[in-house]
């Protein structure tokens, strides 16, 4: 059996049914083996999109996403996707073709040191050095990708190995860093701190999705009565509509969430990492709080904020142990709930333009239980986080750590392949959309019913907003008023499209999104001057939020 056939067999034995990729010279033996393998290959139109699609597939299923690319430019085009998965802790295996071993190190055609280039953005990587070890490498790569804190693993496969006959397959393959059990001493300390607190707050992050600890979080919150704020990736970890959920915190967080964090006396961080977009000025973040930090990755505990009670280890186990209701929590709950009600977003913005937050709220209110929303990066991404509701962290997909414009559409493609019956909506902006616009061809090719909501403000809105606020309105390279006609672009790819240019067209558009069977692009013209509020300016603490009227 040839190396490429062994690769197919190993992928099938890992339960892989779908891979995303793009062929080329050095990976041709693998594509040859794919012809007869029981694996569906999805051809994207750029390798970056293959990586994002594999990530979308992985995020929505919790399984390992797989992408393929050839050597040289094919491999380098995966890098942004790998970095995105690395920063957002998504399990992936990327397989790159490499020139044959005798040519490696000779600057051969399409040779690049992808093993070296990718090293800082993968959890681990391999250059396959013998066909006999190939199956074991694949097995190990999958274990590493999904174990502990998940992440991407790269396998660089030289062409001669893909073509070589295997004689004595090596069956090595170890176990890798399962998340440790939390220590009883630390758990007891955390219980005591919760019991003694008067103004406790849960700060919930993406680690809850990774640990599959949504039920445990809900049980903990309901047993203790402690209000919750979430990070971007914590959205959906507890239902948006839960009474104790104060919403997202941080730079574009809700006022209720940020003010409560600044006031609390105990911050229980659960699978969150004190990212700078969350904390604002770090040494003024939650200034009155002692910190209990639960995380599956010991490397995150006390990385940026020293935990008074570090609890590295399985989040589920920890949460289940901490069901202790603070003695006098009712006044604090009342304060936070009052604040939540009084400072809630409003949707009665004046003007003629479609108001993006109102559009997104309506879109979300009409959702079906199986709706998934993916985002690109920028103002629309923050509006989705602020104004859409989510009942599961797997129904909201946003490029959080890396902030990759162009992520949304290919991620939606990956989601739709994983869940063919789901309503998958890619919310994008006119800047982000153009970064992977070629994937409209993939939608058409596979007739995927992905719905694209393109919020068009004819500019790079988030950059423009910062230039307005922090660079004295010196607008530099943010004008996109020469955008193409997006409806015509979609139609040129064979995709249905409609324009929404006034508020009275919104209901029809939303109905069509949920009713139409095939792919659809809804081009929504919004106010080019609209900005995202509130906003914590850089270098400030989270109580110093700007609102439209104060900016």
């Amino acid at each position: 059996m040839k190396g490429a056939d062994i690769l197919m067999k190993a992928l099938v034995s890992e339960g892989v049914d779908t891979v995303f990729g793009y062929p080329g010279g050095a990976i041709m033996p693998v594509y040859d083996a794919l012809v007869h393998a029981p694996i569906k290959h999805v051809l994207t139109r750029h390798e970056q999109a293959a990586a994002h699609a594999a990530e979308g597939y992985a995020r929505v299923t919790g399984r390992v996403g797989v992408c393929l690319a050839t050597s040289g430019p094919g491999a380098t085009n995966l890098i942004t996707g790998l970095a995105n998965a690395f920063l957002d802790s998504v399990p992936m295996v990327a397989i790159t073709g490499q020139v044959a071993r005798p040519l490696m190190g000779t600057d051969a055609f399409q040779e690049v040191d992808i093993f070296g280039i990718s090293m800082p953005v993968v959890k681990h990587s391999y250059i396959v050095e013998s066909v006999d070890e190939l199956a074991a490498v694949v097995n190990e790569a999958f274990k590493i990708a999904r174990s502990g804190r998940p992440g991407p693993v790269l396998i660089d496969l030289p062409k001669d190995i893909a073509l070589a006959e295997c004689e004595t397959p090596d069956c090595r393959g170890g176990q890798f860093d399962a998340v440790p059990r939390p220590e009883a001493r630390q758990l007891n300390q955390a219980r005591d701190m919760i019991a003694a607190s008067r103004k406790p707050l849960v700060y919930a992050g993406g680690g809850i999705r990774i640990a599959g600890a949504e039920q445990e979080l809900l049980a903990f919150v309901e047993a203790t009565g402690i209000p919750v704020v979430t990070t971007l990736h914590g959205i959906g970890a507890i239902a948006s509509g839960h009474p104790l959920n104060l919403g997202m915190l941080g730079m574009h967080g809700t006022r209720a969430a940020n003010l409560s964090v600044q006031e609390c006396d105990l911050l229980i961080a659960v699978g969150a990492r004190f990212d700078d977009r969350v904390t604002g000025k770090l040494d003024e973040f939650a200034p009155h709080a002692r910190v209990v930090h639960l995380d599956g990755d010991p490397g995150e505990v006390s990385k940026l904020r020293k935990a008074d009670c570090p609890v590295p280890g399985e989040i589920k186990t920890s949460l289940n142990f901490l069901h202790v209701r603070p003695g006098d929590i009712e006044p604090w709950i009342a304060v936070t709930m009052k604040r939540k009600a009084e400072l809630a977003f409003t949707y009665d913005a004046p003007g003629e333009f479609v108001y993006a937050p109102a559009f997104l709220k309506k879109l979300s209110d009409a959702r079906t239980p199986d709706t998934v929303i993916t985002c690109d990066v920028g103002q629309h991404q923050m509006w989705v986080a602020q104004h859409c509701s989510f009942d599961s962290p797997r129904s909201h997909m946003s490029s959080g750590g890396l902030g990759t414009m162009g992520f949304g559409l290919p991620a939606a493609i990956g989601c739709q392949f994983a869940r063919p019956d789901a309503t998958v909506i890619a919310v994008s902006g006119d800047g982000s959309f153009m970064m992977n616009v070629q994937e409209l061809a993939t939608l058409k090719r596979y007739d995927l019913p992905v719905k694209i909501v393109l919020l068009d403000n004819k500019s790079l809105g988030m950059v423009r907003q910062w230039q307005k606020l922090f660079f004295e309105e010196r607008y530099s390279e943010v004008d996109l008023s020469d955008n193409p006609d997006f409806v015509s672009v979609a139609r040129a790819f064979g995709i249905e499209a409609m324009a929404v240019e006034s508020r009275d067209q919104v209901d029809e558009a939303i109905e069509r999104i949920y009713r139409s069977e095939g792919p659809l692009l809804v081009h929504v013209l919004i106010d080019p001057r609209a900005n995202v509020w509130p906003l914590v300016p850089p270098g400030r603490n989270n109580s110093q939020m700007l609102e439209e009227s104060t900016a």
């Binding site: 090293m119 800082p120 681990h124 990587s125 590493i144 890798f176 490397g299 990385k303």
Partner: protein
């Protein structure tokens, strides 16, 4: 401040490179390095690093690497310092020991 990381490593392709890259990216400058392969497949490395960051962070980052089997920390000089005070890192290259 300077610290010594004493490590036992599975000597697979790129193992040492991965360690050095991770230390650099996490703002630990390398002052000295000795490495040896006492038995086939294994490497021992003794790396002196300098950083204003908490050395425990370097240990945790090394622990995360698949190739690293064991890492011990020796404090060369200086006193216990607070993570909060270590946000500012120097960009200066370390002088040879």
């Amino acid at each position: 401040m300077r610290y010594i990381l004493d490590m036992s490593i599975h000597n697979r392709t790129g193992a040492l490179e991965r360690i050095l890259g991770r230390l650099r990216q996490r703002q630990f400058s390398i002052c000295s390095l000795t490495a040896d392969c006492p038995v086939a497949g294994m490497m021992t490395a003794r790396i002196t690093v300098e950083s204003s960051r908490d050395p425990e962070l370097a240990v945790k980052q090394m622990d995360k690497l698949i190739d690293v089997e064991r890492v011990d920390l020796e404090r060369l000089e200086g006193e216990e310092h607070d993570v909060f005070q270590s946000q500012k890192t120097t960009a200066e290259y370390c002088r040879p020991v």
